[in-house]
């Protein structure tokens, strides 16, 4: 077999171009069927009852439930600790009924007597003298220490400027449009089908089989379309487990998608955190010493933070880190777990030090970034945002205009490599049709589209000549979509499968052209002898002789078709209304290297999406649990504010084509990392208000302006 390579990117006719997503029309017209849309004969609707206290011993009385045909399940016992819930809105019972409304009625007929336990929802409460013991090993867990404090302090004393600050970042929700959940089609017997909103098609079958008491081979998982995951949807999860129990109990299919409140409170989150930092800088902009103390706040989970000085170099650095547990649901992975948190702290303190020394924000970054790729990308971002014509490059003037304009920067990193796990099948039928299948899933990133595109490119077809089938556990194995690993794990297997299918196909076609298989080429819907393009045969005719079995090939991962290690530089331009504190992000530039671009349109959409998610986090998003009542105050889309179309800036999303690696890399995570940092720095650059506590709401800007005088 010939060596398999992607080839030069400029030689591609489909890959490395803007490809419209093949399922786009289905999605925008509503034809696309999500798990939430599944309707089966005899199906019941499930609802989950969450405990309204951060910790309580519930006494559940179901005797009052008189909704006809309702089934009640109590999933609680195995999740309680000493009879008590350990996190706010922890499910304590569930019901299934003929309609969602009846299920809701039945749920409210369950009488619960709560014996409230001691709880903590803030780190202060969790660290207080009479705090409840939340984790088995206490409330401070996974402590770590790195570096030499004494040495760092000696270096700090030598610095020309020292800034001490505390940066706080709130808990962010994944806010997937489709909530967590499944439809379990099980009515007794040996087989079941699970329609899941998941990032891991193959993972659900095993979990569901265990819960249903079936063999894994007899449980099919289907994920035709799914409405967003961002890291929160691996495995069967609580709602799926409860749905299986309800289906087993009722012997009816059960549809259980969380309602929005439960989604906000019981389906995971991006951990918040506090980073206390002292940084020291030299007059030339060199970051010489950094002391960081990181607290991760992930509810009953550990939270995430990659540590400091993150992407930057610091002469000496000393970091301590710990998680503080509270009685709220566990943090989960969320697009670049921990990275936005780390970015906000380091990008802010570098900016603060630069301002203190009157240094150019752009140049001081380059000074402390060893990797030249960042210099190139920062320069590009600076050019696009208009940095060179921007009057103020360090500190704003004392006298502010009614509308003050500012620019800020931040950088990103990610691995984005894949691993050997995906098995892709490509079949060429004797009528010329081609189907590519793998049990992967499309989280909205365009997996289905590049599955068809890679095969079409290899076979010289148009993308609509290839059917892409995904989201079915009966298809070849595929990895969980997390950490930007889907594409680097899957795309190489697709390429190999398509390549092998083409070679097998050429073996069969070569005699028709009286040529050797190695002499053939497929392009523009024809198979021809490469040296003599006139000796050709149309694709359909070439396939006609394949017989009933057609040609089939399976592809596995090949390491050198993917790579790891990407960067990114982003710049935000904001306008601050100094009379009212109103903030507008007017322009946002994001430059990212991505290895081989499979679909340039989808890549720019990924960049836009990451920027939007970061902008929304920067301006609005924050979970609020009332510290005295332990009550959730914004578990709805009204009160938990997400950026809308009116809040969008002008986007300049750039694929860094100076990266000439002919290998596929996962890049989605990097795009979300530095947005809020760039915005924070832009606010300071505009009006001199340094916001160390996200989100950057009008009240904070205005009070900051007031204290500036």
């Amino acid at each position: 077999m010939a060596e398999i390579k992607w080839g030069k990117r400029e030689d591609h006719t489909l890959l490395n171009t803007d490809i419209l997503r093949i399922d786009g029309p289905d999605k925008v017209s509503g034809r696309a069927k999500y798990s939430h849309d599944v309707r089966l004969p005899g199906m019941l609707y499930g609802r989950v009852l969450g405990c309204p206290f951060p910790s309580a011993k519930p006494k559940v009385d179901i005797s009052g439930v008189d909704v006809e045909g309702a089934f009640v399940a109590m999933p609680i016992e195995d999740a309680l600790r000493d009879g008590a819930t350990t996190w706010l809105w922890q499910p304590i019972a569930a019901v299934a009924a003929e309609t969602p409304e009846l299920a809701e009625d039945a749920l409210r007929q369950i009488r619960v007597e709560y014996e409230e336990q001691k709880w903590a929802v803030t780190p202060d409460q969790a660290l207080g003298d009479d705090a409840p013991r939340i984790g088995r090993d206490g409330n401070v867990v996974r402590p770590s220490e790195r570096g030499d404090l004494d040495e760092t302090e000696v270096e700090m004393d030598e610095c020309d400027a020292v800034v001490e600050a505390e940066y706080t970042i709130p808990i962010q929700h994944h806010a997937c449009l489709e909530t967590h959940g499944v439809v379990v089609d099980y009515s007794g017997g040996d087989e079941a089908t699970v329609y899941a909103s998941t990032q891991f098609t193959h993972g659900v079958s095993g979990d569901a089989a265990r819960e249903l008491g079936l063999e894994r081979a007899n449980v099919v998982t289907l994920v035709e379309h799914m409405g967003g995951g961002f890291g929160a949807k691996f495995g069967l999860d609580l709602p799926g487990m409860i749905a299986c129990r309800l289906a087993k109990e009722s012997k009816r299919p059960v549809h259980l998608m969380l309602d929005r409140r439960s989604e906000f409170l019981a389906a995971g989150n991006r951990s918040g955190g506090i980073t206390k930092m002292t940084g020291g800088m030299m007059k030339d902009g060199t970051l010489r010493a950094l002391v960081s103390d990181i607290t991760r706040l992930g509810g009953v989970g550990m939270g995430a933070n990659p540590g400091q000085p993150y992407i930057y170099s610091a002469g000496t650095s000393y970091t301590t880190a710990k998680s503080v547990l509270t009685n709220t649901d566990s943090s989960r992975a969320m697009r670049a777990p921990g990275h936005p948190q780390a970015s906000f702290a380091i990008e802010s303190i570098i900016d603060e030090l630069a301002a203190e020394l009157g240094l150019d924000q752009l140049e001081v970054r380059k000074k402390n970034l060893a990797d030249e790729v960042y210099h190139r990308q920062l320069d590009r971002a600076a050019k696009e945002i208009g940095w060179h014509d921007h009057a103020n490059k360090a500190r704003p003037a004392a006298e502010l205009p009614d509308v003050a304009t500012g620019i800020g920067f931040g950088v990103a990193t990610w691995g984005g490599g894949g691993r050997k796990v995906c098995q892709v099948d490509v079949k060429i039928e004797n009528d010329g049709s081609v189907v590519a299948s793998v049990g992967s899933q499309d989280l909205g990133t365009g997996t289905r589209t590049y599955l068809a595109a890679i095969v079409a490119e290899e076979l010289g077809l148009t993308i609509d000549q290839v059917s892409a089938r995904i989201g079915d556990s009966r298809f070849g194995n595929a990895n969980a979509s997390g950490g930007s690993t889907t594409t680097p794990s899957l795309a190489p297997s697709i390429k190999v499968a398509a390549h092998k299918a083409r070679e097998a196909f050429f073996e069969r076609v070569a005699p028709l052209l009286e040529a050797q298989p190695a002499e053939l080429k497929a392009k523009d819907g024809k198979v021809f002898v490469a040296a003599e393009p006139d000796r050709s045969i149309p694709w359909a005719s070439a396939c006609a002789g394949l017989g009933e079995a057609g040609v089939e090939a399976r592809g596995e991962w090949q390491q050198d078709l993917q790579a790891r290690g990407i960067h990114g530089a982003q710049a935000a331009k904001v306008e601050v209304d100094t009379l009212t504190g109103e903030l507008r992000v007017v322009k946002f530039v994001a430059v990212h290297d991505v290895g081989l671009p499979l679909n340039r349109l989808a890549l720019r959409s990924q960049i836009n999406g990451g920027v939007i998610e970061a902008l929304s986090y920067a301006l609005f998003e924050e979970r609020i649990i009332e510290p005295w009542l332990g009550a959730p105050l914004n578990a709805s889309f009204e009160e938990y504010k997400l950026a809308g179309s009116m809040d969008m800036p002008e986007f300049v999303s750039i694929i860094d084509d100076d990266d000439d690696r002919e290998a596929v890399i996962g890049m989605a995570e990097a795009t979300i990392i530095p947005g809020q940092s760039a915005i924070a720095n832009a606010i300071f650059n505009a009006c001199g208000v340094r916001l160390r506590d996200m989100p950057f709401t009008r009240d904070k800007i205005l009070m900051g302006l007031a204290s500036r005088g």
Partner: protein, 333 residues
């Protein structure tokens, strides 16, 4: 939401008669008035209201009209949608503050369904009130949790014992146009100024925001004429660019002669327990030209008596800043 009966009266009288005379009596059948449903449905879904019946006004003829009056005034039926107000060129031209206020409400979907009557009678957005599990003063409990709690969005004016802010965008604009409201009950109609329609939490039943009796229905609004020489504007600061309630709002109407203010109306939204008319600031503006000193002084007067809680002090400079912008806008128009 809880199941309920839907009543479809053919007249205002019939509708009013289906309402209980007193809603304080425990165990009585609970009936709620339904128009666009933009607030009521949310309340029912969150189980803040669980009526046994809702009286749907949409079948009543004549409540959805915008009627220009002979004196240059305007009558607006309670069922007129916010979108109709926002889009009516005649209103945009003569009552711009009203069109701007209507356009500032919620989202296009909400404005398409939401009505004038519903907007004026809507319940507070305070998140303690909106959380089913926190039984606050507004819901018959004995504590206003926002007083010492997470009160960033709460009132700096007119607070005590409740600190909600009145959420309406239309009300401040209508009050600055001296609007009157007509309420219909089983005994007939009564009219009062919209300013009087609202009450402070200290003035009566703290679970209510208006003087609407349990068996009354708001049927129409009248704006008196004689405003041809006035300029007006509604300006609102919110966090999100759309689908958000006011952090602060200014409804300002001025009659200017050669750059000098001859008459003024100023009502604030988003900062007080009711739409907050500012008579002292209005008086201060009369006889003044719009310059920085006037803006500063008017801002001082408008926020006189403000008592910030722990997290809402920003509303004072925000409102003053917004008033400055509104004054400059009208002064330069």
């Amino acid at each position: 939401m809880k199941q309920f009966e839907m009543l479809l009266p053919g007249s205002v009288d019939e509708a009013a008669k289906s309402l209980p005379t007193d809603d304080s009596f425990e165990g009585r059948r609970k009936v709620k008035v339904y128009a666009g449903g933009q607030d009521l449905l949310g309340e029912m879904k969150e189980h803040l209201e669980e009526p046994d019946a809702v009286v749907n006004l949409k079948g009543i003829e004549g409540l959805d009209r915008i009627v220009p009056l002979g004196d240059g005034g305007l009558e607006v039926g309670a069922l007129v949608t916010l979108r109709a107000l926002e889009r009516e060129p005649w209103i945009q031209e003569r009552f711009p503050m009203l069109a701007e206020a209507a356009a500032a409400v919620g989202s296009p979907q909400i404005r398409a369904a939401g009505t004038v009557g519903g907007n004026l009678c809507q319940r507070p957005r305070c998140w303690y009130y909106r959380n089913e599990h926190t039984v606050c003063l507004k819901k018959g409990g004995d504590e206003c949790f926002s007083f010492e709690g997470m009160n960033k969005y709460n009132a700096v004016l007119g607070g005590g014992p409740s600190y909600i802010v009145h959420p309406s965008d239309l009300a401040p604009a209508l009050i600055s146009y001296d609007a009157e409201v007509t309420l219909a009950g089983p005994g007939g109609e009564r009219t009062l100024s919209l300013d009087e329609f609202y009450m402070l939490p200290s003035e009566g039943d703290v679970t209510k925001e208006t003087r609407l009796a349990p068996n009354e229905i708001l049927t129409r609004i009248r704006i008196p004429g004689g405003r041809q020489a006035w300029r007006s504007t509604y300006m609102k600061v919110r966090e999100r660019g759309a689908f958000d309630f006011a952090l602060s709002a200014v409804a300002l109407a001025l009659r200017l002669e050669d750059g000098t203010v001859r008459e003024a109306r100023l009502t604030l939204g988003g900062v007080a327990t009711k739409p907050w008319r500012c008579p002292r600031a209005e008086k201060l503006l009369v006889g003044k030209r719009i310059d920085d000193a006037t803006c500063r002084a008017a801002g001082q007067e408008a926020m006189r008596g403000a008592e910030p809680l722990d997290h809402n002090e920003y509303k004072i400079p925000m409102t003053q800043g917004l008033l400055t912008k509104a004054l400059r806008k009208l002064g330069n128009a």
